[in-house]
């Protein structure tokens, strides 16, 4: 997914990370390692694409783009911990706790969460109305919290509430993966000076379908890709006895479900015309055809 945004995203992520200088070198190096260690930047790209559709400036979109990626990096650090998924590798490199130790990894995750809220509240008054920033922060913190992202991770780990049906699996992923994808798409809407309730509700529908597509695709990749392409140990969820869209639907039906969900995204975007181009590209990138056979 290399395109003109790639360099820009790395630059703004780096700009909002504290410098790795003493006495706080270690924690700041761990934060930088986790954030700047590659990744497809899917969530920042979504934020810029949504900003483009709405017509807000890239200068303003930088803030939600960075905030969602910091939360994403924080959630990956904590998910990889020995007490959670116990993953030694992430994006083809040692996971944060393997590189920095468990204590620093926990704290680096904690600090990235705090930093995400700092970034969202550092938007200059010339770019967004304070009332909009407050609403965006409240919405974002709910999506990150115990009924959103963190709730999803809890359901994923909780032996008493393991999802067994498609409905339960979808609910879990609406929180675990979907919440942050919704945040990436909707934060730019919430930060605009003029409310656009219709646009916002259509984008929300699109974001929810996109979050589901993203997870179905991830499960297909996990079941089919080789470790080098994946950058992590494949088959992890299935081998832990956890339900995935592939274990519940089978590979062929999972591919069909992915295609149908992406089609739902496309039809929701259709009415927006050319302004939806960037979002349509991101939707296209998730198609089943893009998965190595």
């Amino acid at each position: 997914m290399s395109d003109p945004l790639t360099g820009h995203i790395e630059t703004v992520l780096e700009r909002h990370l504290p410098p790795p200088v003493p006495p706080l070198s270690v924690i700041h190096e761990a934060m930088r390692y986790a954030v700047l260690g590659g990744g497809k930047r899917f969530r920042p790209r979504l934020a810029y694409a949504s900003a483009h559709l709405i017509g807000i400036s890239r200068d303003l979109a930088d803030f939600p783009a960075v905030a969602v990626e910091f939360i994403h990096a924080f959630s990956l650090i904590h998910d990889d911990l020995p007490a959670m998924d116990n993953d030694d590798y992430r994006r083809g490199r040692p996971s944060c706790h393997r590189a920095f130790g468990e204590a620093i990894a926990i704290l680096a995750g904690d600090a990235l969460q705090a930093r995400a809220f700092a970034v969202l509240n550092a938007i200059p008054g010339t770019l967004a109305d304070p009332a909009a920033i407050v609403e965006a922060t409240r919405f974002f913190s709910e999506l990150c919290g115990s009924t959103g992202l963190i709730g999803g991770q809890t359901l994923d780990l909780d032996p008493l509430h393991q999802p067994r049906t498609l409905e339960e699996l979808t609910d879990m992923h609406e929180r675990k993966t979907g919440a942050l994808i919704r945040a990436a798409v909707l934060l730019p809407c919430l930060l605009t000076p003029h409310r656009m309730p219709d646009t916002q509700s259509r984008l929300d529908r699109m974001a929810q379908a996109l979050g589901l597509a993203f997870q179905i695709r991830d499960d297909i990749l996990d079941a089919t890709a080789d470790p080098e392409t994946l950058g992590r140990t494949p088959g992890g969820d299935a081998s832990r006895g956890r339900a995935t869209f592939v274990t519940l639907l089978g590979l062929d039906d999972a591919r069909r479900r992915l295609a149908a969900t992406l089609e739902e995204c496309r039809s929701t975007l259709a009415g927006f015309g050319e302004r939806a181009g960037m979002l349509e590209t991101l939707v296209g990138n998730l198609s089943a055809e893009s998965i190595p056979a």
Copy 2:
């Protein structure tokens, strides 16, 4: 420290915690266990006392009071983890990870951090100006982050940057303990409709001295109290070879330093007259005379 505020604080803390209902019972129970498990509520009390001095309503003060206590509870959960201080007891009960397991404890801490920002941004527009909420959130997130609270915890754990001198120990505690005490005192200032730069800078000086006094007192307690009074394993820091105000100064000088620091708090508050009464009581509660001989 039982007084008319005690019941009120427990009520508002409980009100801002999500209900422990399925499928998210476990994480919400862990959050409630960590927050509602007693504690002196020193930081919420500071927020109400500061609000009283400034003249803002208790309805408004509820929000920063709850937010600082949620961050405090989050930091205690993570500090107690096996990878950190590995403490089995907190406030005379099993620590959160002993009661709920490590994974849920990590996630409950994460969720309490998100919830703290949600609470601060749930202040109704009738009580505070959105611009003030944005500034308060930015300030708060910086104090919680890698240069504040979490930075202090990092220094406390980092074998390469262990504080060896009084200056380094003070710097570490200005972050680890001081940051949240500053937040409790200053958030009410930042949320007032009219800026009071002089009051704010005097309260900031007082808060910084108070944070130091709090930590010196904690080190004295840790060196002298019995486990039952303390509610946790005493002598923990010193027995881990970590510097404390008692190991660096000796017990007598630590008591003298505590008295001098509290005197600094009192003299900074003196000019405020009767409005400072609640803060003066909290300062008095930290006096060396209050420590069991």
